[in-house]
Amino acid sequence: MAVGRAQRRLNGALAIVVRTFGELLITVGIVILLFVVYTLYVTDLINEQKQGDANDTLERSWADPVAVQPAPPVTPELGTGFTRLYIPHFGTDYNFVVVEGVGQSQLAVGPGHYPGTALPGQPGNVGIAGHRIGTGAPFNDLDKLNSCDAVILETETDFFVYRVMPMAGQVAGWDRIRQQDPRCARVPSLRGPGEPGGGPYGRTVGRRIVTPDRVDAVAPVPYRPDDPLPKAEQVALVTLTTCNPEYGNSHRLIVHGVLVRQVPKQQAPDYQALLSRIGMTL
């Protein structure tokens, strides 16, 4: 009998150990699921709040009568929103306030403008980074942009319409593609005939996947850190960057667009007016 009781007590202790271990495993599983919910949804809610605040501040600064005269472009302060980004291909309601800076606290507000790169409409390269996962995920579908899709930047005075450049496989036959698709009519391939390697913009195509050390992706002439052109001869480009693969950080996804049109707000007071003016419908 004594042996039996000891045996039962041992079984009881074992049961407690096994049960506690099981409970811990279940707890860890629930915590991981909660973390997924946080990353994919809660960060979006936090971002929505911050975007809303940045949008209000931007609207107020644009409505300020002191600033009615188009001020000379000044470098925006770190963390302040200064332009609005629209990508019609991602839906007519797609718009984000772009803030200055690509640090984590700035990217938590919205897409971030690389400090020192061109401002909207200027010659050179407007570099903008954005999250692909969580935090509003402005660049979630960046890989789905095709050549000639519009990337629009709104400033206080103008809309600047950029279009995605020809993809690597389209460069050779671009003149033919350009004639077939009216959206591409104003999109140059930026390759001069007979220039070695396609000229200064020979490496600039619609979409590229590069290693994270390619800071020259946002150089005035992309992938040319040697800066081969004087400012006046630089083409006005926009460059969007995000992580690649979608949940990884081994590479960066880069999309290049070229400025095809500038529409002053006197001609198109809002986004809807702009879209009808450039032949896109809401």
Binding site: R19, Y38, T39, H131, G134, V210, R214
Partner: protein, 50 residues
């Protein structure tokens, strides 16, 4: 573990349920407002700039 916590909650059944819910809410809030915001920036897909 959970059984042990349940046995150590005071009061009648209804009070215990309420205390348990408050405990769960506290743990979730700690995760959502302290632990996850600290952990999330360390994830690889936050590296979006060159």
């Amino acid at each position: 573990m959970y059984g042990w916590i349940w046995r150590h909650l005071p009061g009648p059944f209804a009070v215990r349920v309420l205390a348990a819910l408050i405990l769960i809410a506290g743990v979730v809030a700690l995760l959502m407002f302290a632990v996850f915001p600290w952990l999330e920036p360390k994830l690889p897909f936050n590296d979006v700039s060159v």
